[in-house]
Amino acid sequence: MDFIGAFSFVNLRFLLDGLQITVAVSVLSIVFSFLIGGLMGTLRFANIPFFSRVLGVFVDIIRNLPLLLIIFFTYFALPQIGIRFNIFWSAVVALTIFESAMLSEIFRAGLNAVPKGQMEAGLSTGLTYVETMRTIVLPQAFRSMIPAIVSQLISLVKDTSLAVIISLPELTHHARIIYGQNTNYVIPMFVAMTLSYFAICYVLSLLSKYLETRKYNY
């Protein structure tokens, strides 16, 4: 075990570079999957004949596949049919596909939990469907969804580590390179990885607990 050697300036900077990629991939996937998942969840809730059903089957399939398989698929299989991303965007696309399916279920469940009368009241006071959705139903649904959404975001951050399989230069990948040089660095690198992920995820989980217990004024 050699903590001092393992955390030399060069190594530390290398790790931070990795952490930066981890954060970048996480943030991009969070934003995209939030938008796409929100849209898909709302469309499924709206119960458009045929379309919502097809979307439902698609979501169920994606949700029940391992993320690792989706990452493999975007990076190794899609180029065979002419769709090519570089490593970074493959990771973002794979994570977005998977997490938006997960988030769309959370959105749909949240929307279903809002009493039907709210939608009817909105429509009968002359608002259009879209207006009712945006100003009345979604804000109420959103509050009940926050804990589930945050815990999904936590898994997203943890799941970025899986992109190591396509050699995305993120934290786990860089830590592996460093401990590959010297077995004395193995434990320090594991400590560094564990602490970094734990710090990010634990802060998010505290946020979720705070939002859960906070009282809202209706």
Binding site: L65, P66, L69, S205
Partner: protein, 215 residues
């Protein structure tokens, strides 16, 4: 795609077997550890309670990959060799047990306190009341979310591929590398996973709906 499957059926089924084996083993052990951790979290003893909480918070907030790699990379350096399958299954067990602990804990907490008090006052010991009165009620509440955890467990078992754990994903990868037909191979692998996860996920959705109505 059918030809590809026929030519490599042995590999796919071999991997399928290991995926199921790993998932079932991890499920059994993580149910035991998770339930114990849930009970410890609600214990009167401050030290036990905090240790259990630390266990759950720690393993819920780090990636599964790190736990698995710890058993595959770190421990062998200190004279405890694990092969990929063992490391993967142990990692899965530890990781899932933290989630199961949270699920079971919230289930136990939804059982009214009066049940525990009634059990204790009619002469049962704490562990008897827990076993015969509180846990059976809690389990009915937590079965749908536990099913969700089991589905996650099956999906997460693909992590074995990263440590040469002989599972479905690993074998699929071998086939893809040997044949260069990646697109079809991964679709076949996906279908195998769906055979396991889709029926379970519909069953849990059904149970959740049915039990929710009856309260």
């Amino acid at each position: 795609m059918i030809e590809l499957f026929q030519a490599n059926a042995d590999l796919f089924f071999e991997g399928f077997k290991y995926t199921i084996l790993s998932s079932v083993l991890a499920l059994i052990f993580s149910l035991i550890i998770g339930t114990l951790m849930a009970i410890f979290q609600l214990s009167e003893n401050k030290i036990i309670r905090n240790l259990a909480k630390a266990y759950v918070e720690f393993f819920r907030n780090i990636p599964l990959l790190i736990i698995v790699m710890f058993f595959y990379v770190v421990l062998p350096l200190y004279g405890m060799p694990f092969d990929g399958f063992q490391a993967g299954t142990i990692g899965l067990t530890i990781y899932t047990s933290a989630f199961i602990a949270e699920t079971v804990r919230s289930g136990i907490q939804t059982v009214p306190k009066g049940q525990m008090e009634a059990g204790l006052s009619s002469g049962f010991t704490y562990s008897e009341t827990m076993r015969y009165i509180v846990l059976p009620q809690a389990f009915k509440i937590v079965i749908p979310p536990l099913g969700g955890q089991f589905i996650n467990l099956i999906k997460n078992s693909s992590i074995l591929a990263m440590v040469a754990g002989l599972d479905l994903m690993y074998q699929g990868d071998l086939v893809a590398n040997a044949t260069f037909i990646t697109f079809e191979t991964y679709i076949i692998v996906g279908i195998f996973y769906l055979i396991l996860t889709l029926p379970l996920s519909y069953l849990m959705a059904y149970l959740e709906k049915r039990w929710a109505v009856r309260g």
